[in-house]
């Protein structure tokens, strides 16, 4: 399974380089009226020349994108242990669910009753997420994890402001945090204060004690953190923050290590986000769409984005009358199509399956850890890892072999590389997240390949990958001379 082979993949020009002219690949519905020329209805100065879109037939378009697709690595095609991203198998039934006609066509402003079914589904989904996380209320609005972070931080700010506590404009963020955390904080005008990790990769309680003051709105932490470690002091952290008037935001990107085993709400988190495209198996789509529902404790409930779903007389209604709400953070009510997939996943696994999911995600990660320990540097080894294992290139660097070399070598061996050079708290990070949907057989192939690569020289690895459609790509050139669109040759 691991050995690369050559394949049926061909080069393909840009869409705009294909010869077109005078055709369309789409037949519009018949119009039972004479088509009016826009010039008859609209002032000439409103009108444009036709946009120079390609003019291609359906077969040309289908072949073009089919060929492009064949250059991609994917979960269905192979092992994709991208740490922090939970690249688990995306069940096919989820896709069927989201494309059911009444869901795909459902208009958010349709009259009373039309959307009862989808509202009921979303309400159930909120309830399940609340139960999974131990939170009191859930909002499905945010479009992705980072949007959830932003929304959550807005809630925290709204809470403080509502209480007249105007000076809390800082937020503590561990140095191991994902880039979205400080960035989301910035968007709602909170200043990030970096919280250094301790030598064990966990939150440094002394630093926290030192930094947590009356100007701090709260803390944004990730648990398990991005080193794959459970924050063992989590309760004390929350307690301390709470005592000093702050609130706790929990980045739920790593929920795949906790569902059915432990709950952030029980730890003391006040608000958290879920990444449905990680924990709940919705496909990553080459970068999205995701969904980033948030869960909150009741103290933050009044501030949730509007509208909020509630049940009344057996029907699910929308409450728009939320005077303390931060307002909307997007149009409509969330990435519904994504949420349908996630609902389907949760209902498929059920309580038992969700716990199994977590147990075996963590087992898979620890198995890889066991296979790779010794040959790879484990920067933090005070506990079993959670759903992902963090290695570094420290041992390999002695022979000038870097994480980058290993990553490109893995590509050659037929694997997607792990997340590299993140988290930033260690040098040359390799963050490996196998997920529960990979077999031992695959893990062994991967471990074998990585162990073999780790013995190669930098010179041998520098030439890799040779097999993919392109060789190593020059990212520096791309940055220096950005070409962001095709231009017609003049």
């Amino acid at each position: 399974m691991s050995v690369g082979k050559h394949g049926m993949v061909f080069s393909e020009p840009l869409l705009f380089e294909l010869k077109g002219g005078g055709k369309s690949g789409m037949d519009l519905p018949e119009l039972d009226l004479p088509l009016i020329d826009a010039a008859e209805l609209l002032p000439a100065e409103f009108l444009r020349e036709a946009a120079e879109l390609p003019e291609l037939s359906e077969p040309e378009v289908v072949r073009h994108f089919t060929r492009l697709s064949q250059w991609n690595y994917s979960v269905d095609g192979g092992f994709y242990p991208l740490g922090s991203c939970t690249m688990k198998y995306n069940p096919k039934v989820n896709e069927v669910a989201a494309s059911i006609e009444g869901f795909a066509n459902g208009h958010p402003y349709a009259p009373y009753g039309c959307n009862q079914g989808i509202k009921r589904l979303l309400f159930e989904f909120e309830q399940d997420l609340a139960e999974i996380s131990g939170m009191d209320a859930v909002s499905l609005h945010p479009a992705a994890g980072s949007h959830g972070e932003l929304t959550g931080m807005m809630l925290i700010r709204a809470y403080h402001l509502d209480r007249g506590d105007l000076k809390r404009t800082k937020v503590l963020i561990p140095d191991s945090a994902h880039g979205t955390n400080p960035s989301s904080a910035s968007v709602c005008h909170l200043e990030s204060v970096e919280l250094p990790s301790g030598p064990d990769g966990l939150i440094d309680m002394e630093a926290l004690d030192r930094l947590m003051d009356e100007n701090v709105a709260g803390i944004m932490l990730t648990n398990p953190n991005t080193c794959g470690l459970f924050e063992t002091n989590i309760e004390r952290v929350c307690q301390l923050v709470h005592e000093r008037g702050g609130l706790v935001y929990l980045d739920g990107a790593n929920m795949n290590a906790m569902v059915g085993v432990t709950r952030p709400g029980d730890m003391g988190a006040d608000v958290l986000h879920f990444n449905t495209h990680k924990t709940f198996s919705t496909p990553h789509g080459g970068g999205g769409p995701g969904a980033g529902p948030i869960g909150v404790k009741s103290l933050l409930e009044p501030y949730l984005p509007r509208p909020v779903l509630f049940e009344k007389d057996g029907r699910i209604e929308m409450d728009f009358d939320r005077p303390k709400s931060i307002g909307k953070v997007r149009s409509f009510y969330g990435s519904t199509g994504v949420l349908i997939r996630a609902w389907t996943y949760i209902k498929t696994l059920g309580a038992e399956g969700l716990r199994e999911m977590t147990l075996w995600a963590v087992t898979n990660a620890n198995y890889l850890k066991a296979r790779l320990a010794g040959d790879f540097h484990l920067p933090f080894d005070s506990q079993h890892c959670m759903h992902e294992v963090l290695l570094t290139d420290k041992f390999q660097q002695e022979r000038h072999v870097s994480t980058m070399d290993l990553a490109k070598g893995l590509i050659e061996a037929g694997f997607h590389p792990p997340t590299v050079y993140f988290p930033l708290v260690v040098s040359g990070a390799l963050l490996i997240e196998p997920t529960e949907t990979e077999s031992k057989e695959t893990l062994d192939h991967f471990a074998d390949a990585l162990l073999e690569l780790s013995k190669k020289s930098h010179e041998e690895l520098a030439e890799l990958p040779k097999m993919p459609p392109v060789g190593r790509v020059d990212e520096v050139l791309a940055n220096r001379k950005p070409i962001l669109r095709w231009q017609p040759e003049s």
């Binding site: 789409m26 409103f46 879109l53």
Partner: protein, 446 residues
């Protein structure tokens, strides 16, 4: 559980290798009091068959078969069958952000093609690879304006902006110190440019104008642009119904600085409003201030053309708190969908589509006018307009639903004082026949 590949015996082998006897032992770092001792209160596992049955039953509450005149920011489009099979190819669907360009050229080239397609459509110099959706993208545009013109503080916003976009913008702005000033509409439904003019000074950060505004009226964007000349305020155009660009002058031609669109209108399913697609484009000079991902053209080690993510130093994973946006996962698959949609539609198809929308809306306006119904605004429209009903719009819409029509959006939803406004939308999925039926129902009100 059909998704878990390791059988009990294999699991034992793995645990043994790890050196524990039960998977639970791996969670020793979690304080005991935090460990759940019973199963979550979530239903038992259910079969695929049972779930699909339930899902279909839930979806059945929506009357997909009824003629619909619902729009208002999310548009019913004819979606060719050729799109879904490509977008759902596992190679596109189950990949992630193309961090490793050697194994992601498909996604990267498609992103680059999307950027180009949107540049061609909007006439803007640079388009990014996607934002979440139109409303938050509008807020991002205003925040970007602040990066461009640091001294600006007054955000001038046309009252013709989609109410949900406006509410979203207000949310985003409520934690900073920018001031939002709403510019009213004139009686004809266009933004009152005089009122806007009165607000223009060096504190004006930007002017946000929805070109085909929420009430369907086409704004005089040239006059708007002319007004902004000589001020540092950025010209931000918003356009939820992007097929209007099949006919209307491009924001590029009109001197727009930042363009925000809702890509749902370019062939995405309605899907209760999400996932949709934020379109974001700007002048090249602002490129490095832009939010969102960008695919760039470069070379590989063999000297052949290749693509990779670029200008990443703007992004959160590099720049952290100083990033141009916090966006990470975005709407890549929706962008791919739209790229395929536009490839199929093509130059002549887009024009025909837009004229079809225009023709149907015009026919409806003519018929309703002739029937003695009142239009709220007199300004030129594309494919939407507001009808002034002689009765309560909400009640009538509910009644008409039972007579077999999804008659339009009751504007009361957005404005408690508005009891009679009905926003109607006409797309290529409507027909003369459907409009005649609607008009006949409306006539009963007179």
């Amino acid at each position: 559980m059909r998704y878990f590949p390791n059988d009990p015996q294999t699991r034992q082998e793995m645990l043994q290798r790890i050196g524990v006897s039960r998977p639970e032992d791996l969670f020793a770092a979690i304080p005991a009091n935090l460990q759940l001792t019973s199963l979550l209160n979530i239903s038992a596992p259910r079969s695929e068959y049972a779930l699909l049955k339930e899902l279909k039953a839930k979806a059945a509450s929506y009357p997909s078969e009824l003629p619909s005149f619902l729009g208002a920011g999310v548009y019913r489009r004819f979606i060719p069958s050729a799109i879904a099979p490509i977008v759902s190819r596992a190679e596109f669907l189950t990949a992630y952000t193309p961090y490793q360009p050697e194994v992601s050229q498909g996604t990267l080239q498609a992103m680059f093609e999307f950027q180009t397609m949107l540049s061609l459509l909007t006439g803007m110099e640079v388009a990014n690879a996607s934002m979440y959706e139109g409303a938050s993208a509008t807020a991002e545009a205003v925040m970007m304006a602040k990066r461009v013109y640091a001294k600006g503080s007054k955000v001038l916003v046309s009252a013709g902006l989609h109410p949900e976009y406006l509410e979203t913008l207000r949310t985003y702005l409520s934690f900073g110190d920018l001031e939002l000033v709403l510019i009213p509409l004139q009686a004809n439904g266009q933004t009152d440019l005089e009122a806007l003019k009165a607000q223009l000074d060096e504190t004006a950060l930007c002017s946000v104008l929805q070109r085909v505004n929420f009430y369907g009226v086409i704004e005089d964007a040239s006059a708007h642009a002319a007004l902004l000349e000589g001020f540092k305020a950025l010209n931000i155009e918003v356009l939820p119904e992007m097929t209007a660009l099949g006919l209307l002058k491009t924001p590029g031609e009109l001197g727009v600085d930042i363009f925000v669109g809702e890509g749902q209108s370019l062939g995405l399913p309605v899907s209760y409003g999400g996932p949709n697609l934020g379109v974001f484009a700007c002048k090249a000079e602002f490129m490095r201030k832009m939010p969102g991902r960008l695919s760039g053209m470069t070379e590989d080690s063999r000297g052949e053309r290749a693509f990779c993510l670029t200008l990443s130093t703007r992004e959160q994973h590099i720049r952290r708190e100083k990033a141009t946006s916090n966006i990470c996962s975005n709407q890549a698959l929706m962008a791919l969908w739209v790229t395929i949609y536009l490839s199929l539609l093509g130059k002549s198809g887009l024009r025909q589509l837009a004229q079809t929308n225009l023709t149907l809306a015009d026919y409806a306006r003519q018929q309703m006018g002739a029937a003695g119904l009142k239009l709220r605004y007199s300004g030129a429209v594309y494919n939407e307009f507001v009808l002034e009903l002689p009765c309560n719009a909400g009640l009538w819409v509910d009644k008409i639903q039972h007579e077999g029509l999804l008659a339009g959006v009751n504007l009361n939803r957005f404005n408690a004082e508005d009891e009679s406004g009905l926003l109607l939308s006409f797309t290529e999925l409507n027909s003369k026949q459907e409009i005649d039926l609607l008009v006949s129902k409306l006539k009963e009100l007179l």
